[in-house]
């Protein structure tokens, strides 16, 4: 009896060992596939970025002409000259459409190749994710499998975003070929966008900002200044927005900025409150493009 029990225990332990080894082996293999997919994503991303650069280059506007359009639409105190504006817009559109048509075949081939690359990668990342999901149900490896599942899901999300970006750009290219100029491809909209960007740059320079558009979890404050006892976070907005909205938005960054610059030497100039640098929050509005 004693001997049977010992044998049974030995068999159970042996079986568990085999199952553990199987699960661990599967997990290791899934991890290898994850690493391979991750490095492939970097590679595909690089190729997509090259394609986007090429595609956007075809749709780009002549800088001098675009600046004239910005002057006409946004900078003049007087009403814009409609005939001149129409002429510039027509010229910018014609050149962009012509450029896209001449290079469309080559560029669209590259676009299809990139979309196909991303599709394959998406299949691969989803397969890794599904394997991690299955492994999560096995007790022996569930913790590690759970971490792998989180990582693999992020990879799927990143790949999805890359697909959206590539397809959306290809759609824009197609639209321009047909003469349809939407969003930033529309010279008038682009001129207003560029005007806003230029205004932000001018203000960041005139306010002597030490940091510009730093990426934080709460957003991207336009300007951070390290001034003796008066450090500041400044938000710039066109005056089509409320000044209070600019002031409130600047304030939303406060705790995040204080955390980020806690150990930054420049922040030693700021007033220190509770062991963190303190920043005054300021909202500034500028004259928006009037057209």
């Amino acid at each position: 009896m004693g001997s049977t029990a010992r044998w049974t225990a030995a068999i159970v332990i042996g079986l568990c060992g085999v199952l553990w080894a199987d699960a661990q082996g599967d997990l290791d293999s899934a991890k290898r596939d994850y690493s391979s997919a991750k490095s492939k994503l970097d590679d595909v991303k690089y190729k997509v970025d090259k394609y986007l650069e090429q595609s956007r280059g075809l749709r780009s506007f002549d800088t001098e002409k675009l600046n004239t359009l910005i002057d006409q639409l946004c900078r003049l105190d007087t009403e814009p000259d409609d005939r001149e504006v129409d002429g510039i817009v027509r010229d910018l559109v014609d050149k962009a459409v012509d450029n896209v048509k001449r290079n469309y075949d080559d560029t669209s081939r590259t676009a299809y190749d990139r979309i196909s690359d991303v599709e394959h990668l998406l299949d691969q990342t989803k397969a890794v994710r599904d394997r991690a999901k299955d492994l999560k149900s096995q007790d022996a490896v569930k913790d590690e499998a759970s971490r792998l599942l989180d990582d693999a899901q992020k990879l799927v999300d990143d790949t999805d975003k890359l697909m959206e970006k590539t397809q959306s750009d290809f759609k824009s290219l197609d639209n321009v070929k047909q003469g349809t100029m939407n969003g930033a491809n529309n010279p008038t909209i682009r001129a207003k966008m560029e005007y806003g960007k230029q205004k932000h740059k001018d203000l960041q320079s005139s306010y002597s900002c030490d940091e510009r558009e730093v990426v934080l979890s709460s957003g991207r404050p336009d300007c951070i200044k390290f001034v003796q006892d008066d450090c500041q976070i400044i938000e710039f907005k066109p005056d089509t927005y409320s000044t209070s909205a600019a002031e409130s938005q600047a304030r939303q960054y406060l705790d995040d900025v204080r955390r980020k610059y806690k150990d930054d030497d420049r922040a030693k100039k700021c007033k220190q409150v509770d062991g963190y640098p303190f920043f005054r929050t300021v909202g500034v509005t500028y004259t928006a493009c009037r057209s």
Binding site: S248, Y276, V284
Partner: protein, 245 residues
Amino acid sequence: MTKLALGAAVYFDHELAADPRPLVTLWSRIATQPELRSWALTAKRSTKPVDFDAAQLTSRIESGDTTAVGVETRNRDVTIIAQTALAASLDRRPPAPRWRYDLAVALAADRVAALGQDAVITALCEFASAVAAAAGIVVWSASLDFARALALLSSGPDLPRAHVTALVDAQLTRSHWGKVIRGPEWGTFLSAPHVASLAGRVLPVAKTIPLASGGAFVQLTAEPFDVEAPPPVLAELRTALAPVM
């Protein structure tokens, strides 16, 4: 009738996205002008001002995608700004303050006169009761911009140096409001624990308004005074409120 502008701030933990009624009631009391506009901030962007529609703005707050909403006139002689983010989305790591949200109100002198000073204070107390205010203040200033800055704790770029200093100094205990009071000022909101800490003390104030939350609003003098020229009795109140400062 006062010639001073009002600035008021209330700090609280009540999640307006889950229950916006205190804010809606406040709007109905003091956002009564026909020409009001509203805007909203979300985590990523802000909206351009549109004609104020209380029902629409309420539903936007309830959707949970706003972090702050503002109701104001074009020249900002009425400004009501409330933080409305979902509690779960707030980053509570230090140096985040003890309180989660705030309400900032600024009214020009003629707007206060039109509404009635008592009606404005009653509306603020009603809001403070409904959200169980942790702290807050009501101040008066000859400068509407300064009153608004003291309420919102943010400003435009052109505040005079003295106002900048006062604005920064006003925030030195910001993280601790709730545990301690903000102020004291002409009007000071006390939480229920503050009231309990002060039990038995006689405060040198003109008026005390009990709040349904167990807190109180103490009003130092019957008539408003400029925040930059406080009467000597403010120092007496500061001494009396020492246990909650």
